[in-house]
Structure formats: C-alpha cells, structure tokens
Subunit: 364 residues, 2 copies
C-alpha cells in the first residue's frame, strides 16, 4: 500500500492535539466515526493515519497524516479533495506540505519542459530571463500587438498577456493572439533572437481548450494559465492534452490563505506541470515575505526525483531598479517579470524596456 | 455600460482607506498605475471605480468597487478572476458580496431546477427533506448499494455519495453508480415513493463529463459536485451541458477563508446553478456560526430576480437529535443531511434512519 504524507499546521495545544489529529485523519478519509467503520480492510488500508505530531509552540502543532493513495483515484481533483477538501473549511487547519510516493510523482509528471526547455526555446542557457505583460485590458488587439513588438525589439524574452486579458469584446481572443504572435515574430526577425509571446487562456474547460487550438495554429509556443482559477484538475488535463506548450502558472484566485504558498505554487503547480511559476515577490504589492519567496523559488527549482525544475517568476509591482537586488537574491535561474514599471515610462517605453534587459544582463 | 458591484472588507484605517481602495480598483482591472493608462476610453469604461467606502470600525472599512462587465468576457472563470483573482493574494482583503446587473444574472441562470424542481422530483411539496451519505470510501459497490437500499426503504429522500467517493479501484464509478441507482429504484418500488440517488462526480473536466453520461444512462437524476474543487468555470459548463440533472453543490476545497461563505456558497454556487447547497452547519465539526448559517440559507432561498431558489443543505456531523432544532432554525425549505450519525447506529441503521425521517415529518 502506498500513502501520501500530508503535513498540516493545527491550532491546537498539547492537551488536545492527539484527539484533534485523529479527527482530522477521519475527516480526510472516511468522514465518519471510526467505531462505525466495520470493515477491517477499510480500517487498515483506507482510514488515514496520524504519522507524527510535533509541537511548534504552546498553541500550534505540526501534524503529518498518511492518506491512502488508493483514495485519490488517479485523479488530480480527487487528490486535492483528499488533501484539503473538507478540512479547508476548518479554520484551525493549514495545509503546509505534501510528500508523494515516487509512483504518484511520476504519474503526475511535473513540467513537460521546465527551466531547460524554456532556456532552450529562448536560446538563453545561463543568464536570468526577462518577462513583461501586455496591458491594460481594454486595449485593442492592434495596441497590444504594437506593445508586444516594442517589448520584443527591446530584447525582452517572454511577453505574456496580463492575466486579466481573456476573450473580451474589445479584444477577441483569436484576433488578439494572431496579432501579438505576429508582432513577436517580427521582433524576433528584426533582432535575430527568440521572442516568446504567451497568451492568457481563461475560461471554462471547453473554452480554454479551444483557445489553445487557436493559439497553436498561430504558432504560439507558451501560454499563461491560472490553475486555481480554472481548477487544478482542469490545469492537469490541459498540460496532458497540450504537452507542446510551455506553461506559465499564474497565482490568481490562489489566496486560499490556509494553503502554504510555498507548497501550492512552488511544489504543487510544478508537479502538475507548470514550466514557469509566477508569484508575488516580496516588497511589492502583495504580502509575502522574503523568506516565503526564497522558499517558494527553491521549491520550484530544487531536485525532486524525476520532476523537472520549474522557473520561478517573481512579479507584482517590481520596478526596474530592483533587478540587481532580485538577481542577487534569486540567482540566475529566475525569470524577472516587470510590467507596470515599464508601462509607466510612457514615451520612453522602449528605452526603459532596454534598461530592464541590460540590467538583467549586467546583473549576472 | 454595465458594472458588477463587488464589496470587499479592507483591513485599513481611515487615513489609508481611500488610497488602498483606489489601489484595489486598479488591481482588479488594469493592473497598472493609472498615470500609465493613456487611452481615455479605458479610463472611462474599463478601470474599476470606487463606488463607496464605509467604516466598520477603526481598523476596517467596507469598500464597494464597480467592475466593468465588459472585462468579464461572458465567462464564469474570468468573472471570478475579475472579482477575486489577484486580490485573493492580498491578506488585507476579503470578498464579502457581489451585486450583478440583471442581464448578467439572466445569463448565468442559477439553478435549473431549484427547490421547486427538487420537491417535484421527490413528490414532497411542503415538508423539510431528508438526505444522507453513502460511506465510508473503501466499501465495495455492493456494500454501498445495500446501504443505499436500506436508507431508501427507511424513507430518506436523497442518498448522496460521500464527497470522497470518486472513481477508485475498489469501487469503480460505472459499477458503483449502476448498483446504487438500482438499489434506490428497488427501494422506491418497495415503498411507493421517490428515492433519489446522487452520485459524486469528481475529476478533471473530461472525466466528470464522462461520468455524467454514464450516470444518465443508468437513470440517475441528481449529482453531487464540488464547484471549488472542479473549478467554478467547469461547474458552470457542467450545469449548462447537463441541465437535466438536479445539482447538489458541495463545499469541499471552499476554504478560501477570505471569501465570505455566505456569498460563495449561498449566492455564487446558487447563481452558477446549484439546485441544493451543502454547507457546514453551526454546532458541528466546522467553524461557522449560527448567524453565518442563517445568512447562508437565506441567501440561497431568498428572491433574486429571475434566479430560482436553491435548497439549503446544512450538514457536517449533525446528530438525529438535532433535527427539531434545525427545522425550528431553518424552517421547512431545508434538506437535512445526516450521515455519520446514522451509520454509527450499526445494526440499528434502518431503525435510526426511520427515526430521522420521522423526526423531520413530526418536526414540521
């Protein structure tokens, strides 16, 4: 029998924690009193087990459960259900980390391209990479395409849609993606270096699968997806269906605040196949600390059995002036995503974009 | 121009709140500094607006934004993105409520059957309804089917799968659903009253759509879905694709603790088409207060333009002894879901199930 080890932080003191941990094990498996489970095979191989309890402080304990792999039904949605389905509703529980058995890791598969594939596509084997966003939404396809070409000619590696750009009347998906991809290709031809445009795919499963077909027809090689927004199972199905795309994972709607961002973004998004993982950098307009960001980036990149490293993409209100600091902090396996700070330059957009690119090149 | 009005609770004091609210409006629309938005049409019709700010106490304010309907691209996933995509990552923000323009309400559609359709299927026009769960997972299809027949013969209206029951090797979906549906039909034939079996559909979009086809072939009339687990857009697509099913919405993975449960479960699940909405009752093993539960049930049932009422289904460790109290609290438009408390009865399962049914009938 194989088990998934899930670690939770419980707001529970030493007197209560054993009972609380046992209740959590039932909640995340059979969802009924143990006395009412008559079948000894179910008690033995299906009921989750409390593997360890360790104190953090007087009011908190770290509890690891073993959850039977058989209950996950070879499905990402059901796996998520077993890990944090019902207990997400109990506000004394936070999902901190999960250890998967090797076989499950292999089946989930992780990034299809990862850091190496992204670097190969960009012909940039060593230096940190650059990324920016097309915005604001409300712009026409032509405006977005012009912006894309400006960024591409300035030397930026990956130009993604803002995550709020979907399939809106003022910039329909097919028209917009065709225009932006053509702009990226013009920039690439002019500069003699790869320029990758990554459109945002947002919508119901049917809609994003159709969008992916359209994008592929235009020659798009990378896409932006928000796994929590489209559903983790939908994300996994997408990656399996379109292995040719480099997948950038976006954290939108990921604020299930009691899932550790290090685990959710750094590990689980990676495991499900995100090649690059966008997350809020410290010191920006989101609340993560430098320690959380370091741990998240390390989780995305560190060796993990057969799972390819994913590229960390810190973002969220970063000015060009912080490039040096960010490279010193993250090292070279990083893709810096700067958007608003470039667009604020107005008429000096191209110049500021080149400054960004140069800062990254010089920062190494 | 149409606008969606989204209300947030901001942990911000009087000195800061105006600036914070303005930043939130940018975050949830153009995601860039306002100065950098050159196009006057975008400033006018795409940038979200701060509609009102009202103090709650010294450290908190209630802020309502108007978000342009045009940005939602006629898609539930993108709507969710605009409402709580990025700001879900900012821990000073909680999404409290949303007011939709009538046209958007009509398009989203809400329950396809609602309370009236559920009552018609069950031939129970007025009394509170009863519901229980087949469990534990790990049981064989035969065991689950026997349990289903016992519950059905005892007079329980709706017998749903435990939400952890998916498509596992020990109880494959097709075999299990065929057996349980047949058991429900036998119970119905024996008692001369409708018995509704609602299998749990869990998985990637492709998998749950296939499961729905199989369930329909067996004669299944109702299904259990967890919208947060499968993705809100996947849920909406499911409801549109299979309007014939009565849909029970399950809260699993809904612990995005900074979305109000009253809004997420009571209103948004309803709007997306849940006919009945399962949620943790007060006084059980989850943390909601009686006030939250009352507000949630009212949100699910109260008149809302063209949107049908959805049936509130309080659940989560409720003993049969609380039936009277729950009916007094919720009134008759409620479906009481009791699972573990019945199964704890062991050999007296059928008797305890009948007691549950009688308590509901007498409780009115």
């Amino acid at each position: 029998m194989a088990w998934v080890s899930a670690t939770y932080l419980l707001a529970s003191n030493a007197d209560e924690v054993e009972k609380r941990a046992a209740a959590l094990a039932l909640e995340q498996s059979v969802e009924m009193p143990l006395e009412a489970v008559g079948d000894p095979n179910i008690r033995e191989s299906i009921v989750a087990r409390v593997a360890s309890i360790e104190p953090i402080d007087a009011q908190r304990h770290r509890v690891t459960l073993q959850i039977a792999t058989a209950t996950t039904g070879e499905d990402v949605t059901q796996l998520t259900n077993m890990l944090f389905g019902n207990c997400s509703l109990q506000d004394d529980v936070e999902l901190e980390d999960v250890a998967f058995p090797s076989q499950l890791l292999k089946r989930l598969g992780g990034p299809r391209h990862g850091i190496a594939g992204l670097r190969a596509l960009l012909d940039a084997p060593e230096r940190p990479l650059t990324c920016t966003a097309l915005k604001p939404q409300g712009s026409s396809p032509q405006t977005l395409a012009e912006l894309c070409e400006t960024f591409g000619r300035a030397g930026i590696d990956v130009i993604k849609d803002d995550h709020g750009i979907a399939d809106q009347a003022y910039a329909p998906f097919a028209e917009r993606v065709r225009a932006c991809q053509a702009a990226a290709e013009r920039a690439s031809a002019a500069t003699g270096r790869p320029v990758v445009y990554a459109p945002s795919l947002v919508g119901s499963p049917r809609r994003i699968f159709e969008q992916a077909e359209r994008a592929r027809e235009c020659g798009v090689r990378a896409v932006l997806l928000a796994p929590m927004l489209i559903g983790l199972g939908t994300f996994a199905e997408f990656v399996a269906t379109f292995p040719e795309f480099i997948v950038l994972g976006h954290p939108a709607f990921g604020g299930a605040s009691r899932i550790s961002p290090v685990w959710l973004f750094g590990k689980f998004f990676r495991l499900l196949g995100a090649d690059a993982i966008i997350y809020p950098n410290y010191g920006g307009r989101f609340a993560y600390s430098a320690d959380v960001c370091r741990a998240l980036a390390n989780a995305a990149r560190e060796p993990w059995e057969s799972i390819r490293p994913a590229m960390p993409v810190p973002a969220g209100g970063m000015p060009v002036e912080r490039v040096g600091e960010m490279i010193a902090f993250y090292g070279r396996d990083v893709m810096l995503l700067i958007g608003g700070s470039l667009l604020s330059a107005g008429d000096h957009l191209a110049e500021r974009s080149r400054t960004f690119v140069q800062a990254v090149v010089q920062g190494v």
